[in-house]
Assembly symmetry: C2
DNA sequence: TAAAACTTGACTAATTCAGTTTAGAATGAA
DNA sequence: TTCATTCTAAACTGAATTAGTCAAGTTTTA
C-alpha cells in the first residue's frame, strides 16, 4: 500500500512549480536541486505530467516547466492517479479504472465482504486526495475534506 | 496503492475460517476449493498467518487450520499488515513501521506538506481497517469506524 | 502402516521500481 | 550562423516484488 517514489517526487516538484506560478518557467535542474531529486528521473516525471496536461514547457535558454492551470484547480488525487494509477486498493472498487474480479466467488452478487470493506477504504482515500488542492498543499495548509 | 493478492486471499480464507470458528479445523484444500485459491499459494499464506499467531493447525487425517482467537478480536488491519506491511502510503507517516525520509528537504522540520497530506490518508485507512472486525467482515456487515 | 494433512525451503517467470543512458530537436543569445 | 542551453523521447538496466510452483519432508490417526 505504498505510493511510488514517482508520485512523491511529482508532488515535491509541484510544490516548487506552485511557488513559481505566474512567473517565468522553472528549470528542471533548479527543481532537482531544491528538492534533491535525481535529475534524469525527474525529467521522466515532468514529461509524464506534461503529457497529462498539467504542465507546459519551453525549450532553450530561458526555458523550463510551468503549471498550465491555477494551483487551486489541481488536486493531489489527480497527480497521484497519473503516476500510480487508481487509488482503489483493489480493482473492483475503483471508480476511475474499474476491473471485475475474475476469481472471487462473490463476484456477481452484491454482498462481497471484500468489496464492502475496500470500497470504504477507496472512498476515504479519494475524499482526502480529491479535495486536497495543490494551492493548499504547497502552502502547508492541511485542508481536511469534511472536518 | 493496491493490496496484494496475498492479502486478498488471506481475507477470503479467513471468511471461511470465521464461519468454522468453534468447530473442527478446516482443511486447506477445502478452503482452496471454496474460495478458488491456488492451493500451494494458499498454504504459504496460511503458514504466514499461523506464524503471526492468528491461526492454529493440526496435522494428520483430521487436521486443518482454525482461528486461534475469536473473530471479533481480529481486525482487517492486523491481517493486511501481516501480509502487506504497514498501511501508511509513505514510510514517514507509519505508526507501526516509521521510517525517516532520507532525501526530503523538509525532513527535520515539522511542516512537510507531503507528511501532512499522507498522514491524513494513513489515518483514514487505519481508522477503517483497524476497526473492521473479522466477525463483521465475514457476516457482511459494513461496520463503519465513525459513521 | 499408509494415506491424509501440514511444513519448509528453494525455485521461477513476469512485472514493477527506480533510475541511467543515449540520441535528438528546439530556442535564443553572441 | 553557431553554439550552449534546455527540453523530448525512447531504450536500457539492476534489483526487488509478485504470484505462484515444486520437491522433499514430518506428523498424525484411522
Amino acid at each position: 500500500m505504498k505510493f511510488s517514489k514517482k508520485s512523491e517526487y511529482a508532488l515535491r516538484a509541484l510544490i516548487e512549480l506552485t511557488g513559481q506560478y505566474g512567473q517565468p518557467p522553472l528549470q528542471r535542474h533548479e527543481i532537482a536541486k531544491r528538492q534533491q531529486i535525481p535529475i534524469e528521473f525527474l525529467e521522466q516525471i515532468l514529461l509524464t505530467l506534461k503529457n497529462a496536461g498539467l504542465l507546459g514547457s519551453r525549450r532553450g535558454v530561458t526555458g523550463g516547466y510551468s503549471l498550465i492551470k491555477p494551483p487551486q484547480d489541481i488536486t493531489l488525487g489527480q497527480v497521484i492517479r497519473i503516476l500510480d494509477g487508481p487509488l482503489a486498493p483493489i480493482g473492483c472498487v475503483s471508480k476511475t479504472a474499474y476491473q471485475k474480479c475474475s476469481d472471487c466467488p462473490y463476484s456477481e452478487k452484491k454482498n462481497c465482504p471484500i468489496q464492502n470493506a475496500m470500497l470504504g477504504v477507496r472512498n476515504a482515500i479519494a475524499d482526502i486526495l480529491d479535495n486536497y488542492k495543490l494551492s493548499d498543499f504547497a502552502s502547508g495548509h492541511c485542508k481536511r475534506a469534511h472536518a
